[in-house]
Amino acid sequence: MELQELKAQALAGLEQTADLEGLEAWRVRFLGRKGPLSQFLRSISSLPLEERRLQGESANRVKSSLQDAWQSRRESLRLAQVSTSQSGADISLPGRPMPLGRLHPITQTFRDICAAFQSLGFEVVEGPEVEWDYYNFEALNIPPGHAARDMFSTFWVDYTDDKGGHPMLLRTHTSPMQVRVMEKTEPPVRVVVPGQVFRYEATDATHEAVFHQVEGLAVDENITLADLKGTLYEVARLLFGEDRKARFRCTYFPFVEPGVDMAIDCAMCRGEGCRVCSGTGWLEILGAGMVHPNVLSRVGYDTQRYTGFAFGLGVERIAMLRHGIDDIRLFFQNDLRFLRQFR
């Protein structure tokens, strides 16, 4: 067969191919080992050298043009196949679920609080939940028999020392870690302590015997109450958003002087006063103050040289405010219908 004729016939056939199967049949027929081109190339092997070269070159030209045509036909057939709408493609069927685990809202809140302080150079450390009276009270300027002990209803461990006392307790706050950290470290100190704390208390919608706090401590030369205010206002901004107002007022904790109570404006009523904020327009979120000189000197810090601030935040309270949770007991119930809401 004449090469040009073969080429025309092949290209015409290519036009007729409707799908990839037909295309493959076409390829086998025209470009396969048993196809006319291969046969032609085999048949010229007996021709003289010059003749063979000329015939071979034109046959190869035809072959390569057929190959190019095949390539582009294949491309267009594939595209046509992909773009055709396929029956059974119901994109509304649900996706196959990936394993989706979540962190407890308390953990999420812990992380947000700690991250805010970490961005200000605080390191996260943890401490024991079962404590000595010494760390929980005495070293924090609350001697035995002090009325301030009433502020911290205590679970005592059934443990008796040589003197018949009960010196072991469940820590009532994360503040003992102030003392433990300072005992081990020289200033500068900048730590936050997330942890679980305990109060001997009946449980209701706003009280739990077990809850969580984040303690903070910074001690160095030249640390002031104004630094405390700046630090806490910045953290409140990170946690609650740009447009919330914060308030600093005087209060008493035995281990700080001056003492501070910090509140943010009530989001429910925008400071007008409502049930959530007991009509005050403010929600107390933490206690703080300048570390009491008695606490500093007990750990051997030079009170003439160093000052420091400390603070303690209630994690449940912050989680409740941020998420509008109205019952603190939900945190320990581990009801998936509750936990799954916190993505």
Partner: protein
Amino acid sequence: MKVSFRWLKEYVHTTLPPQEIAEALTMAGLEVEAGQGLGEHWEGVRVARVTGVAPHPNADRLRLATVELSGESHTVVCGAPNLSVGQKVAFAQIGARLIDGHTGQTVTLKQAKIRGVTSAGMVCSEKELGLGESHEGILELSPEAPVGAPLADYMGDTPLEVEITPNRPDCLSVLGVAREVAAITGEPIRPPALDYSEEGPPVRELASVEIADPDLCPRYCATIIQGITLGPSPRWLQERLISYGMRPINSIVDVTNYVMVEMGQPLHAFDYRTLLESKIIVRRARHGENITSLDGQKRSLNPDMLVIADAHRAVAVAGVMGGLDTEVTEGTTDILLEAANFAYASLRNTASTLKMRTEASMRFERGLSPELVPPNIKRATQLIQQVAGGRVAKGIIDVYPGMADAGAIVLEMTEIPRLLGMEIDRAEVLRVLKALGFECREDSPERLLVRPPYWRSDVRLPADVVEEVARIVGYDRLPTTVLSGRLPHRQPDTKFRLKERVRDSLSGTGLQEAITYPLVSADWLETVHCPLGLRLANPVSREQEYLRTSLRPGLLAALATNQKSGADAVRLFEVGRAYLPWEDGLPLERDTAAAVLWNGNGEALWTGRQAGADFYEAKGLVATLLYRLGTSSVDFIPSQEPFLHPSWQAAVTVGGRVVGVIGQVHPKAADVLEVTGPAFFVEIYLDAVAAESGRTVTYQHLSRFPVAIRDLALVVVEEVSARQITDILSSSPLVTEVTLFDLYRGRPIPAGHKSLAFRMRFQSPKRTLTDTEVDRAQQQLVELLGRELGAVLRSA
């Protein structure tokens, strides 16, 4: 504490509304809430005098009253039976807002014609004024009531609810709160009068006071008043006690209570004639000593308790409660009045042992200043003379073994900016301290010598003085600055970081984090075969009596809760502490990661039902977790944990060391904890893992040579474990990975046998392996398996 705003204003002048005062006090450290005001709506109601009462011409049960106020005279129709000429009454003019006696609604008083007579207003009952429930008769005001004055000025009031912090016992008094108001507003304080006439014999001739235990009683003062007339106290005094929430008893007891509320010092009055040998001895109680307290209860005392005794017996529990034998009652004519100071710690102990937290003990427990005693006893003596008459003996017995001069506090002026981060100018500092009653001596331009007023027992250090200045100036004025200065040396808490990674890994694998209660019952711990551990001395309940020694009970209970609420699959984990008793010290708080898996009947999905949770899910979870933590050589070995199903359990080891346990919860434990269906439990002790985790990864070269993949199906007897086969398959140096991809039992595999299919990857880091090499290696492995385990190739 409830403080009457009206009473408070007796000691300090202010025109500010109670809400503003409450707000200012709160900012300065005294948390105050202004309650519902009494008389806020008494517009148009004034004090009037009844000048005439005449019968109503057209009605038998109504009368016409003429009332007079500031020169005007009005006639009103009135139905009250208790109306009489000369009475002072509350008169509402037309337009006044009142509470309707029948409906309870607030209404505006309109002019009305009653049975043909026009009434010019109304004479009010208690109920119409919101003072009480009675509307049968009119409210009769005291004869001193100023005619013409708005009723709100005469008797309107707002209760202030004051929350006192433990450091401020001085503010457990109306005068104390008034002093705060004075300091904040800059108004002067007007303290109550303390002077009275002494017409009796010298007090020392009448009684003696001895303090046997001065460590518990720094100061004791006494006065004696003879010939009193005991009766009810006057109305104004009763009203004030009621405003505070106390019940009036008799004039003497009422005065002691009144002065305590007014000025803060608890006092006690004895019937002088009942004190044997006219002696007061302040001493520790004797072994086996008893006292019948005022409430009629017999109390047993012990030598840790301080009592007030006469020559023979205890007559009061010091600072807590008086005794019945020496009570002031009908027939009492002579009294010995006590004002004393007691050591707070011992008193607090006594009050709590006797379960008698009284108004008095609550004040003493906070550490009152002994300097409060003289002015308070004078005030009480003066009031007793005023309301009960009698002759006051000359002088005061004052025994003061605890006298100590604390000296002045040296306040370096630099201390203010050093603590506060802001300057407060010297004149302002002086002004504030003076307003608070502090005496200041200007020692030098750099410093002040500061003496706190006698009522303040809480100010001792320069920092305390700085707080005083700051809170009155207002924390609002503090600037906000950021921490500058050195960053500390970071010492990352590796245990904390490990726990955070565990949380990330387990939640990343699809588990929900739980936080369960750390306090559990003995029963629960026994059910899950854990030791009891530390017990609380004062548990809230038996259900929360022990610190958990394992996370098992809490997580299983959480599973049961969710099963009950209809969950169809539960996968929970917790990272928490188990508290293990540790010799003679604090317990070991072992960080533990635990998980519970339960999948009901398998989650139904349109792509096919998901397999139910099983042992292998638990195993895969642990393997993934430990891989994430960077541990190597993780293994699972047989174990005997009674909490778990005897067949379906394994100990987890890392580097040969047991770090945890996994398995199916034993059906017996599951039953007790009300868990239904098979649940699988995982427990990993993180302290054991910590040492093995977090190593820095060393990079392995990537082989450039191709991988040959071969699948191999083997038939073995049931007793042969998959692990035994993989160990042999992995022993070839050419094999880089072995994966089990099928397990089959049943035809045509003979009974007691199983078929396991493995995929092996052959690869060399140095060259391309030939088919022949791979075939030979595989053949050798098959022969080895046959020899060692009796494995045969499964025929296709």
